[in-house]
């Protein structure tokens, strides 16, 4: 067992599960999507991205790409949140909540691909 692989796999899977946790629920209802969860998703996704740095293989490049997509989506979601809460002060209206959650849904899709790639790599390695 390689501890590096454990940490690596842990963060990639955690990024997906947290993302899912934030995503589920009624899309327009702010009660179902807590901001702390969004924070955790962003942090764990950032960690997962940094962990993927510096791998020169084709698989590594693809993994990094999916993470970058997820980060991009999540940052967009947090910007929407910050804008709604602080800049124009409309608060978490159903429209704002829906756009935040759907952006995180896109990030989740990227995270799903990331996990699938991880599984494929593990299966192909057979060690």
């Amino acid at each position: 067992m390689n501890p590096e692989k454990v940490v690596f796999g842990f963060f990639i899977v955690l990024a997906l599960t947290l993302n899912f946790g934030f995503f589920v629920g009624e899309i327009e209802n702010p009660e179902h999507h807590h901001v702390y969860e969004l924070f955790a998703v962003v942090v764990v996704n950032l960690i997962a991205t940094v962990l993927k740095f510096g791998d020169r293989s084709q698989m590594g490049a693809l993994l990094l790409a999916t993470s970058l997509v997820a980060i991009l989506q999540l940052i967009a979601a947090t910007l929407v949140w910050a804008f709604a809460m602080h800049v124009n002060g409309v608060g978490l209206t159903p429209a704002v909540t829906a756009s935040i959650v759907s952006l995180s849904g896109g990030a989740m899709l990227a995270n799903v691909i990331s996990v699938i790639l991880l599984i494929i790599e593990t299966v192909m390695l057979r060690r």
């Binding site: 901001v35 702390y36 960690i47 962990l51 740095f53 809460m85």
Partner: protein, 569 residues
């Protein structure tokens, strides 16, 4: 470039993770700890404010407490977060600085920069492998002529020194083993502008490998190799190495020319001399008695063969005949540094002496001992080390054989003016009086410094105006080319040595010889002559003046004016 990005990413993983964690924990803590606003109500910092606060706290230690003054619990947390973030930043910066100073990283950057420079080369260049004594001399004279050079050497100190030397062109240098194909490729072996490869390393095997690689990967470029043994020479010649330079054979050949035709030898030395060096005196090796050759190595053997060809009796002095091989000539065992050995070889009535061992101190000792016994002796001395130049010069031998200088001179001529070798081989068929006459013409041209040699090809581009003039049926003779464009009645201090026209070679063409487009000319003269001749061949106006003596107007108005005046007058 790819390499560097990956190196940075890989090394920065740990510090970036640390930073991320410190930021995340600090932000989370700030949002969880309750504070009190100006009215005493409990408030919680939102993620937005927490992120903003942590961002400026970590980098600048803060502008103050926003949006309200902090409670003591918040201040406690901020002081912890502050130290943690400062440490995380120091760690990240430290890693980056360490990375920049890292050898692997620096080598990756240097290699990258080198590869980029090579890729950007747009002019023909030569690849010189080995930057020892010979390589240094060669690169100096090539760059002095404005030619581009790329250097590979296995020794990092030598490649670093290049940037400190005062060379006229920038010389990219790669620290690497030239026997490895990848290094040759990085240095531009397959670059479309690569004109030639020169293998000058100390090892015959490496030179052989370079020649082989060059011939296989880029068959159309010129490959020039140094070789110290006949074995390797034959091997290199077998796969078509263009030129193989053996310093010992080259020098022995020069000595033979000096014996047969002293003027031709003088001419050779003048024409092949490095630009800026002074004209050398003629040497007249005597043939009236026997010669003594000390040291029967590769050099001694080459000399003996040539001397015997000239019908001169040779006495060989060799300390270890069992290693060097016992010569067929008269033979004396000994080093030659003692008087009795030399006396045994008949030094008192010998005509010449060759001090040709591979030890400079012994060579000097041989010369001084022999001179004491016979002051009239003609002395040839072999110089092995560059550093010994001053002491070798001080004994004032008639001829000095310095392998690195010989190789460098020969290769310089091969790369810059290969026609000169054609000229020399044609000159060998001439009488020595012909050479003497030419030598005196050359002295009249240049007085003290060796003449400048140029090879000109009359094709579009290089000497475009003259080529255009010729291809439109204009008549232009050698005489016209040698006119001074400032005062056409005066001649320039230059001689056309050779004209090559397809398979014809015209040696010292007559002044009335008409030039044709496509001709290749070999010229010698002083430097100003070439600067002025350049005006003739590259400016139509000057060319017309040189040809006709009329200073024709250039612009439309003046041309019209000129025509009217001519018709009315």
């Amino acid at each position: 470039m790819e390499n560097i990005v990956f190196l940075i990413l890989r090394r920065m993983r740990q510090p970036l993770l640390t930073l991320l964690l410190v930021y995340a924990i600090s932000i989370l803590g700030l949002t969880l700890i309750p504070g009190r606003d100006a009215d005493g109500n409990v408030w919680y910092m939102t993620f937005f404010h927490a992120f903003y606060f942590v961002s400026y706290m970590a980098t600048t230690i803060g502008f103050g407490e926003i949006p309200y003054a902090f409670s003591d619990a918040q201040r406690l947390w901020v002081s912890l977060a502050l130290y943690a973030s400062v440490i995380a930043w120091i760690y990240a910066f430290g890693t980056i600085l360490a990375l920049v100073q890292d050898r692997v990283f620096q080598e990756a950057i240097a290699e990258n920069r080198f590869a980029r420079r090579i890729r950007r080369m747009r002019e023909p260049f030569h690849l010189v492998c080995g930057y020892g004594e010979t390589g240094t001399a060669l690169v100096k004279s090539l760059t002095g002529r404005g030619q581009h050079v790329v250097v590979i050497d296995i020794d990092a100190t030598r490649t670093n020194i290049i940037q400190l030397q005062d060379l006229r062109e920038f010389v990219p240098a790669l620290h690497g083993d030239a026997a490895i194909t990848r290094h040759l490729q990085e240095a531009g072996l397959q670059h479309p502008c690569c004109a030639g490869v020169v293998a000058l390393t100390d090892s015959n095997e490496v030179n052989l490998k370079i020649a082989l690689t060059a011939k296989l990967l880029n068959p159309k470029i010129k490959v020039i190799c140094r070789a110290d043994s006949h074995d390797v020479e034959a091997n290199m010649a077998s796969f078509g190495t263009d030129y193989i330079v053996d310093p010992f054979d080259t020098f022995a050949g020069q000595l033979a020319v000096a014996l047969q035709a002293p003027c031709l030898h003088l001419l050779q030395r003048w024409l092949t001399g490095r630009e800026g060096s002074s004209l050398s005196e003629p040497v007249y090796p005597p043939q009236d008695s026997h010669w003594i050759v000390c040291g029967y190595g590769r050099f001694g053997k080459a000399i003996c063969a040539r001397l015997k060809n000239e019908g001169i009796r040779v006495v060989v002095v060799e300390a270890k005949p069992e290693l060097a091989g016992r010569p067929a000539e008269d033979f004396v065992a000994g080093r030659g540094t003692e008087a009795n050995t030399l006396q045994e070889a008949g030094v008192e009535h010998a005509a010449g002496l060759v001090a040709g061992t591979d030890n400079d101190a012994n060579n000097l000792s041989i010369v001084m001992t022999a001179r004491a016994l016979n002051p009239e002796l003609f002395v040839v001395v072999r110089q092995n080390q560059n550093d010994n130049h001053d002491i070798i010069a001080a004994v004032d031998a008639d001829m000095v054989m310095h392998p690195s200088a010989i190789i460098a001179d020969k290769i310089r001529v091969l790369l810059a003016t290969p026609m000169l070798y054609e000229f020399m081989s044609l000159a060998l068929y001439q009488e020595d009086s012909w050479a003497c006459e030419l030598a005196s013409r050359v002295t009249a041209l240049v007085r003290e410094e060796v003449p400048t040699i140029r090879e000109w090809l009359l094709v579009p581009g290089e000497n475009g105006v003259l080529h255009e003039f010729l291809s439109h049926g204009g008549a232009f003779a050698v005489r016209d080319l040698l006119r001074d464009p400032w005062q056409r009645e005066d001649g320039l201090n230059a001689i056309v040595l050779l004209v090559r026209r397809r398979n014809d070679r015209i040696l010292l063409p007559d002044p009335d010889t008409a030039l044709k487009s496509g001709d290749r000319l070999l010229l010698c003269g002083d430097r100003t002559a070439f600067t002025r001749m350049h005006w003739t061949v590259s400016h139509r106006h000057t060319l017309d003046y040189v040809k006709t003596g009329e200073d024709r107007p250039q612009s439309w108005i003046w041309r019209a004016w000129y025509r009217r005046r001519r018709y009315s007058g």
